[in-house]
Symmetry: C2
Subunit: 160 residues, 2 copies
DNA sequence: TAGTCAGTTCGGAAACAATAGAACCAAACA
DNA sequence: TGTTTGGTTCTATTGTTTCCGAACTGACTA
């Protein structure tokens, strides 16, 4: 019933999703542009895109594409492959990489934990309202750290 | 051994932490200013601060304090109380409010889930690299949603 | 009624981030 | 050797936040 959809229609809808990805720009903070590139590499049926194709399809400048691609590669969310006898690089999403996101998350949590622990140490009265609040914070931070550990165990994120 | 610390020294250290909070500005995105205010209300021994005290201690303009306090109240991270015969409002941190943070998190995850699900629907070949990647994403998003549920159950975040 | 107190609101300056444009460069090719 | 291809790098330009100052307001007070 839903499969009477032409390839062209499908691609249009996919492109819409790419724009949406740009808007909810993504996986823990990025630019609209990086969201759109990730969307393109991820949502279309085509699996690999050259630099030029990205420029053409998303209508963004070469310079922006260049810097954004490099950021995305640095943060391990995309990669490129090459084919013998072809100078072009073919970009594609890297599979299974919520890793980086999780690691930033963990770092953030740890920094926050440290500050709060230090603050608690300095409290004159540990039963004060604010001190108790800090303790509650610390407890929930511990919870989230444990969840992250479990996540990493369960999904056993790929090693190099 | 560590308790031979004068009140003055303690306060200085606490103030340092306030500045740090400003820097890692906080609880899921806020300004340096809101971080510092949260730090002040949270890390010092004094439990309640008036508008003026905040202005004086943090050396930020009245206007900035005003808008920031209102934002923090809107997002439920601080509150104020009043005393009979006193026009001033006394601001203090609201206890136990990672709630809002968690809720934004959940919303974010859900939006992300929706886009990815839609993208998966549109895929011609569900066994393609990128389609499989989307499936993996969805699986981990499901995991995190479950963790959030568990968190809310475990910490049973306070109702009004 | 004027004056103070406890803030709020309104512009705008300063700082920062995102994108573009144009010049550049290195590898391959003719 | 010069030219094309596939990008990169280096300033602008533009847009967005963050924060401040100054003028304003509304409740109370003398």
């Amino acid at each position: 019933m839903q499969d009477i959809i032409t390839d062209k229609e499908r691609e249009e809808k996919q492109s819409e999703l790419v724009e949406i990805m740009g808007r909810i720009s993504c996986r823990g903070g990025g630019t609209a542009l990086s969201g759109r590139i990730l969307g393109l590499l991820s949502f279309l049926d085509q699996e690999e895109f050259t630099f030029e194709e990205i420029v053409d399809r998303l209508k963004i400048s070469k310079s922006s594409v260049s810097t954004t691609l490099n950021h995305l590669m640095e943060s391990d969310r995309i990669e490129y492959i090459t084919y013998p006898g072809d100078r072009k690089r073919y970009f594609r999403i890297k599979v299974n990489t919520p890793k980086t996101f999780i690691q930033t998350m963990r770092k953030y949590i740890e920094r926050f934990e440290n500050v709060n622990r230090a603050a608690l140490e300095l409290k004159k009265d540990r039963n004060s309202r604010s001190a108790k609040n800090i303790q509650a914070m610390l407890k929930s931070l511990t919870f989230w750290k444990a969840q992250i550990d479990e996540y990493e165990k369960e999904f056993n994120i790929d090693e190099l």
